[in-house]
Amino acid sequence: MSFRVAASPHHHARVQTSTLMLKVALATLPGIAAQLYFFGYAVLIQLALAVVTAWSAEALVLSLREKTIVNRLKDHSALVTAVLLAVAIPAYAPWWIIVLGTAFAIIIVKQLYGGLGNNLFNPAMAAYVLLLISFPQQMTAWTPPTALQAQEQSTFDPVCLVFTDFSCAGYSITQLKTDVDGRTMATPLDTLKTDLTNNKTVSESRQQPMFAEIGGFGWNWVNLGFLLGGLWLWQQGVIQWRIPVAVLVSLGICSSIGAMVDADQYASPLFHWFSGGTMLAAFFIATDPVSASTTAKGRLIYGALIGLLVYLIRTFGGFPDGYAFAVMLANVAVPLIDAYTKPRTYGHKAKGSE
């Protein structure tokens, strides 16, 4: 009988990349369902376009790099990138926006850096930033939730809007964004920003119909959906608690300080948590295993940095929401964070304590 001495760790969890990625994609479903309810089935068109583009782009680059295509497509990482970008962009953005963005994310941000595991930036967020600074008009064309729109939408309007820029009756996105009084409605974060520059207070601004008790109307449910999916990911062990908690706590602390200084000028933590893409960013984007920090302490710093940057960009920056910029800037800081938070190896003394 041979007596084999195996090195630790002795207990293995045989989790594969494809399982993890598939779980991440599944966990977006509650958020997608909420978007579907409030913004119409255009969300599904965007998702389909994104997934098809991502798979084709991935297959194209893999064949150029002479790798086996099917095996690598099965790791589902392209699927996750496509889903995250599709839920981040406005539901009624023209079709070429999502096609261009997904192709850029997969070909340039992911594959040109060496494929899965080697990309410095989160592909979906890099593509989002590309689209936002290249096509600001299309990328801010979030229509108000269907319930608030003045124009009745017909069954085929989402298709018409995504593929022709006009609804079937010939209304443009800008017209659809107009409420019964002829004022253009924007996302809650955008409206709040515009109102604050027009010398309104937060509470005055929040009496408009696109706001709810907590967060923005519709947006609070979308964020709750992503929160739910995120908690499931945490329960499944796909993500750890550190990054999302650090993002939310840091955003909460920053907005509490703001609200304590002047509640008329700075929105409350609850509003920040439940509007825009906060929950999506905290649970799905910041936790990307490739581009996020990998040490325990580093993840706290990385998450806190994202929360701080999101608050600064939303409150003092030129854009209504800033999680894409925040995540990309934090991605750049990751090598430095990792270098300074390397855990002490057992049996070695920490530096400087000799």
Binding site: K67, N71, I108, L130, I133, S134, F135, Q137
Partner: protein
């Protein structure tokens, strides 16, 4: 004459300042947002390189080695100032659109680089030729970058050519395509980095292909790499 052919190959392709040496990236990336600007700055840099190489080559035996760098810098600064004044006088609109980047030619590493590496060690004729070829190589990359970025970002070519060539040149403007929303990123700095990256990749790909075809023509024995077989892709 083979020496001159060698210099030409070095400047235009094998040792191209923009694609291989990656010198002078700041003006290369900053002024290549349109073809007209690119040609303007490219020609100015070429002129500066040829003149400074000539002057430095002429005084190379008189300048003590210990103080050669300050002397070179002063010569370069004088030439750049002259070029700047000329552009101010004859192409005022272009002078305004290039702005700070004309005087900044003085800090372009390729100018001091060629002065130190080539002109200070070679006779005047070869030095002028080297300056012209290095300048032409830089100019060509600048023009390629400018053309690609202008087509992607504005859908036009030669927009604003009249600032470089006089009022008749406004007919040169070609509208490649019309779109309601242009690809703004190409005009912005990140676009410059991305397009330059693709140009460098393209050059490397061409070189590799040439090398492979040369090797197969020679019929030489290629060593197969057997130490590591990648089985898991």
């Amino acid at each position: 004459m083979s020496n001159f052919r060698e210099l030409m190959q070095q400047g235009l392709w094998r040792n191209n300042p923009g694609l291989v040496q990656l010198l002078g990236l700041c003006p290369l990336l900053a002024t290549s947002s349109s073809l007209t600007n690119a040609i303007g700055l490219g020609l100015a840099t070429m002129l500066v390189l040829a003149s400074t190489n000539l002057m430095i080559s002429l005084v190379r035996n008189q300048v003590p080695a210990e103080i050669r760098i300050p002397v070179f810098v002063m010569i370069i600064a004088a030439v750049v100032t002259a070029i700047e004044q000329l552009m101010h006088a004859y192409t005022f609109a272009l002078y305004q659109s290039l702005g700070i980047f004309i005087p900044l030619i003085v800090t372009n590493c390729i100018v001091i680089g060629r002065a130190e590496a080539f002109a200070s060690k070679n006779p005047p004729l070869a030095a002028v030729f080297d300056g012209l070829m290095m300048g032409a190589g830089f100019c060509l990359v600048l023009v390629a970058l400018g053309a690609i970025r202008e087509i992607l970002g504005q859908g036009t070519l030669f927009a604003g050519a009249e600032t470089l060539l006089g009022s008749w040149a406004s007919v040169l403007k070609i509208t490649v395509y019309h779109a309601d929303s242009h690809f703004l990123l190409a005009i912005l700095p990140p676009g410059a980095f991305l397009v330059l990256g693709f140009l460098i990749a393209g050059k490397n790909a061409l070189d590799l292909r040439k090398k492979a075809s040369e090797a197969s023509q020679k019929g030489s024995i290629q060593r197969a790499r057997v130490t590591h077989v990648n089985t898991n892709n």
